[in-house]
Assembly symmetry: C2
Homo-oligomer: 221 residues x 2
DNA sequence: CTCCTTTTGTTGAAATTTCAACATACATCA
DNA sequence: TGATGTATGTTGAAATTTCAACAAAAGGAG
């Protein structure tokens, strides 16, 4: 497990805990590491919501597919980030979403009960982990809040601009890269892909932005 | 504080803690109770995100108002439910939303730090409270997930039906009451009010549902 | 009961989105 | 390099939503 530590060190769940303790706790919690190829399903809707996942490398998306096959992308998770924790901690029995690898990736899987219940070995940092977990879950809430802020806008143009402005703010620059291709961006914004492409073209002609693939530049005008 | 205990006893944050302990902890955490009239702002966007609120009576809505004044209703909270906890626990400094009283209400306000940090009095149930808080925050996540599921639908009709089906499921009956008037329902579904009214009329004529004010009946057909 | 205000329903026009279909660019692999 | 498949951009038509304006119904205050 030691080779994964550099990532775990940046993971919100292990903040404030030293290397030795983290490694000891992983053992204590029965953490395991699995590999997935791009496109593979890591967690499927309907699976028991008992595990949390930590992205050690690669990336994944939290995706909901409705009755008619329409895809809605809830969030994107990258190296060092966690998924599944909200479902596991809420006490719901099965997952209402899918988690799909968007690149080849390594995922650390930990049973949530092993985190939540104090282990008999009385790991001294157990308390810290739970605090961290609370913060992680609360922060995930903000991510959803932000998605709702974006998708609550009524037009494709407004949704797109709201999303891009948030990305620029996060990047601290008006030049940034998004983790989505056009279809994925459309599925995150909950709009039609062709309409989105058309809107991007229009904004480009108006000089509001420049882009190629996932790289965007917002012109302050 | 004792008179509020019947509500607190049903509040997710105090599960598994006895009456005496709850009352002791309230004191320990410096809980206070404030009253608000319908329409008053309980928390405003931009306020420091340091308090959590518990609805003792009445109800409130978590609301986001955008730059153009468009209202988006994030959630409705009723007696025994908690709000503000996600923001306080995530470490964000200011609130990105407003909380507005939708009925005259009494709200218990507790500083989140007093919950999160172990008190010097070493309340024995402090640990339990933090677990409960984790579950509350995780559950709030599900609420947002559900809102996204509803609003990700592309048509007013689908949004409405998705919402109503969830309500029916929650109520365990195809007859139920929703906490929104038409304008509020539109602001929750993120659609135009008049379009929503029109859609409801249509569904009524088609025999899919019956309703008067907030009371709906879904006909299974 | 009447007046006044708020909520809900209705409607048609304008704006927007979705949908389908296709063109083009890009990438991969043999 | 050519061939194939995927991603992106473009377009026009159909469907839907928003918007504005008004009518009808419901609720409250005096």
């Amino acid at each position: 497990m030691e080779k994964y530590y550099p990532v775990l060190d940046r993971c919100a769940m292990f903040q404030g805990i030293g290397k030795e303790s983290v490694l000891a706790m992983l053992k204590c919690m029965g953490a395991k590491v699995l590999s997935y190829n791009q496109g593979e399903t890591i967690f499927a809707e309907g699976d028991l919501a008992e595990d949390i996942g930590i992205v050690l490398s690669g990336s994944a998306q939290i995706v909901k597919i409705d009755y008619f096959g329409n895809r809605s992308i809830m969030a994107n998770v990258v190296e060092g980030e966690i998924f599944g924790e909200s479902f596991a901690c809420s006490g719901v029995d099965t997952l209402p979403v899918n988690v799909i690898a968007t690149k080849n990736c390594q995922i650390m899987i930990i049973n949530a009960l092993r985190i939540i219940s104090t282990c008999s070995n009385a790991c001294e940092f157990h308390r810290q982990i739970i605090f961290n977990l609370l913060k992680v879950v609360a922060t995930k809430n903000l991510v959803f809040n932000q998605k709702i802020e974006v998708t609550s806008k009524r037009s494709t143009r407004e949704k797109l601009m709201t999303y891009l402005l948030i990305q620029a703010k996060n990047a601290g620059s008006n030049e940034f890269t998004i983790p989505f291709d056009r279809q994925e961006l459309a599925d995150y914004l909950e709009v039609d892909r062709s309409g989105l492409s058309a809107e991007i073209s229009k904004l480009r002609k108006e000089g509001v932005l420049e882009c190629e693939k996932g790289r965007f530049v917002l012109n302050s005008k």
